[in-house]
Symmetry: C2
Subunit: 269 residues, 2 copies
């Protein structure tokens, strides 16, 4: 999906919500476990309940890989089920030397038809650029993540006072364009988000950390939005597991709608 289409979807739906499809087999509503493919049955219900409210879906690969071959089957079925007007993100956080990165890019863009894949930048340029060579496809590189461990290395600071995450994000901007490169910036760090938006006015930011991790949507918008909105805010557990009972899909819809209505209000300010 091209940037223009993504921005169009955000404006049409008045939403920049990304639903994280972290379908944990151990947390699925009990009645689904009788299904031949419980993970797909769960995702299907979640997608049906949220597709008019969300502009993107982000399966977290760990949850599929952990099930072995049948997990990859569930992933493929889920990807095919996501409506064409929604942006798809393989949350895989891959990163390896050039020839291997190239193989990962072909996996997620050819073997599977994702619009984007999350990429870990630790190994540098040849680990990132293979993901930038596919028309209409995106690399979403880790910048400043939402977890506690982000403090360990991402804030490692040079003599000039620049932390690694900022140095890395600036440098990576020269490898791609706002048409094929996004950044992960955690919702739990609104002050840094504002500085990063100053530094990178045009790029999309994928923002996890609203919901279970405690980030504020209003603060994210205030600090991170640009003229095209330029944000995809992800919520996973707060939507997927809003109820553990037979009403899980309605509860997921209610939580997604709560977020979408807040997004629409922020966009109309």
């Amino acid at each position: 999906m091209k940037r223009r289409e993504l921005v169009g979807q955000i404006k049409a739906k008045k939403s920049f919500l990304c639903v994280g499809l972290d379908a944990d087999i151990h947390k699925l509503p009990k009645h689904l476990l009788q299904d031949a493919d419980p993970v797909f049955a769960f995702n299907q219900a979640i997608i049906d309940a949220t597709a008019d409210l969300a502009v993107a879906y982000k399966p977290n690969l760990a949850f599929y890989e952990s099930l072995g071959v049948r997990g990859w089957d569930s992933l493929q079925r889920t990807l095919e089920y996501i409506p064409a007007d929604c942006f798809t993100i393989a949350d895989a956080k891959r990163g390896d030397i050039g020839n291997t990165a190239d193989m990962y890019a072909r996996t997620f863009f050819n073997t599977y038809d994702f619009d984007s894949v999350t990429v870990n930048p630790y190994m540098g340029e040849d680990s990132v650029t293979p993901f930038l060579k596919f028309e209409g496809k995106w690399a979403i590189v880790l910048g400043l993540t939402s977890n506690a461990g982000a403090a360990d290395f991402q804030y490692f600071t040079n003599e000039a006072g620049t932390p690694l995450y900022k140095h890395a994000m600036q440098k990576m901007a020269s490898w791609g364009t706002p048409e094929n490169l996004m950044y992960v910036v955690g919702a739990t760090r609104p002050a840094e988000l504002g500085e990063l938006r100053q530094m990178l006015p045009e790029h999309f930011f994928l923002v996890p950390g609203v919901g279970a991790q405690g980030g504020s949507l209003a603060e994210v918008y205030e600090n991170g939005a640009n003229a095209d909105v330029g944000l995809l805010v992800n919520a996973s557990r707060s939507i997927l597991y809003a109820s553990s009972g037979p009403d899980f899909a309605e509860a997921a819809r209610a939580e997604a709608m709560r977020l979408q209505l807040e997004m629409a209000a922020l966009m109309e300010q």
Copy 2:
């Protein structure tokens, strides 16, 4: 596999060779493509030809994932075929927030029964420690990698003159022990390897970059060995694709034996 067993294997085989199983379907000898599972057929022949010369095997996950479900089947069959006296490495370079890292750890240690998995440290402590909680299993964290892109962020240096890779490797030593934590250090950087061995006298280093990437085995040993050897030197393409004809397995054995004999000579110095 425990450290003591791994060191025992190295001493018994006079080898610290790890064979990287990067089976690229586009590079396999033509006659194998008629097999129902060409990747497994190839790996099986490579393992048969090298199992007395190597102490470890390292499937590179990208090459299996790129084939979708049948790639994961080939991986499972390959893993089951590797002899029990060889150490197994899932070269996956995973790294994510705590609950996801935990899922990845369960994938590679429970769903699949690998001895170890490579881990990317960019996201910090909660992305690494879930891999350290399994008895007899290992996290192999990226330290200083062998590729050109390593220069981009791994050499990012603080006010005290310490580069990120060194800071990260030192810090991660406090998260695990030499019994459950190894580091990736590229063979293409022998001077740094020597400094890192001073800093971390006991830990194993997994060393890629000998072979196709041009690193020297003698320099690696001279700079990186400790009393237990403490090295696993990986070669992938130089062994796997030593010949593209029907004699690929014999050619692979010849290249593995060349490396093993050089290793034995270095160990006997």
